[in-house]
Symmetry: C2
Subunit: 180 residues, 2 copies
């Protein structure tokens, strides 16, 4: 029997699962941007993920138990990707990453607004957010007001009032792979 892991350290095992350039981007887009379909993830990706990479990461994340895949009733071959509980519990980690990135990378102001909100909201807001994600992705009932709506509102406000150099993220005219 071979040992499939480099070590039993929790940090290492987390890195083995998520330590690449795209996995957390995909999760971020599903989580914050509520992208649920392949196409949404592909074409609305701020970073421009390639289709083969996206397909690969979706497979891996489903295999790793971070996403679940189900059929979309409105379209025979449309798949819906949902977060699982482990992925939802990545909210604090993503919040921390955003907080660190805001301080120590050349992040643009507009794209940092949601990270700032998540950071300032702290564990209480994360908890509300996670509850909301559970209702969205796991079909649990909801009570409180929408954190996602809050994030989107803050983001929209930042975009309209921006003095930033970056183009508005609603869509830079990124070339989609359907060609002629």
């Amino acid at each position: 029997m071979v040992e499939p892991h480099r070590s039993g350290c929790p940090i290492n095992l987390t890195l083995e699962m998520l330590g690449d350039r795209w996995s957390l981007i995909v999760i971020r887009d599903i989580l914050v941007g509520n992208r649920r379909h392949f196409r949404e993830l592909l074409t609305q990706s701020e970073e421009g993920i390639a289709s083969n990479i996206l397909a690969d990461r979706l497979h891996r994340l489903v295999d790793a138990g971070l996403l679940s895949r189900s059929d979309d009733p409105t379209h025979r071959q449309k798949a819906v990707y949902s977060l699982t509980e482990p992925a939802i519990q990545l909210v604090p980690l993503l919040a921390m990453m955003g907080a660190w990135g805001r301080r120590h990378t050349p992040a643009t102001r507009v794209l940092s607004v949601r990270a700032q909100l998540l950071e300032e909201g702290g564990p209480d807001l994360w908890s509300d957010f996670m509850d909301e994600l559970r209702s969205l992705h796991l079909g649990r009932p909801m009570k409180g007001p929408s954190v996602i709506a809050k994030l989107q509102a803050a983001f929209a406000k930042a975009v309209t009032g921006q003095k930033d150099v970056t183009p508005t993220p609603e869509k830079l005219p990124r070339r989609v792979k359907t060609k002629r």
Copy 2:
């Protein structure tokens, strides 16, 4: 002028800097294990990093401003690697990663002890820990008691009292690259 980044999102920029399988392992070893030399990082690595990868990551991390490199007075060609302030501020992120990994990966009990302590200590402990790291790596004066000593003590206790299946991490007989 080319755009060197995929996007200005703080999470993305953090991933561009640290989103690989080894960078955070190196930082973890320096930060928690107080490994300061190439050889220490190479041979005492729980995960068995290759020397070329280690050399590459040390270079990148120094270039990225997360580590600094200085000469060791006791040995002409010995280098000492120190954490910079941005790297020290990764403590909460690493704590979160440990916390998540403890719950959602097959982490061994012994190797999870320090992660648990960091998690339960919360922001107050992280802050003490970061102060201690500043004194160790940036030459700042210290006041409080040592968090690193705490972590090591808890770890040592867990190792001696373990019923775990994993070998003791003091050193699995990993083959070092000096041969014959």
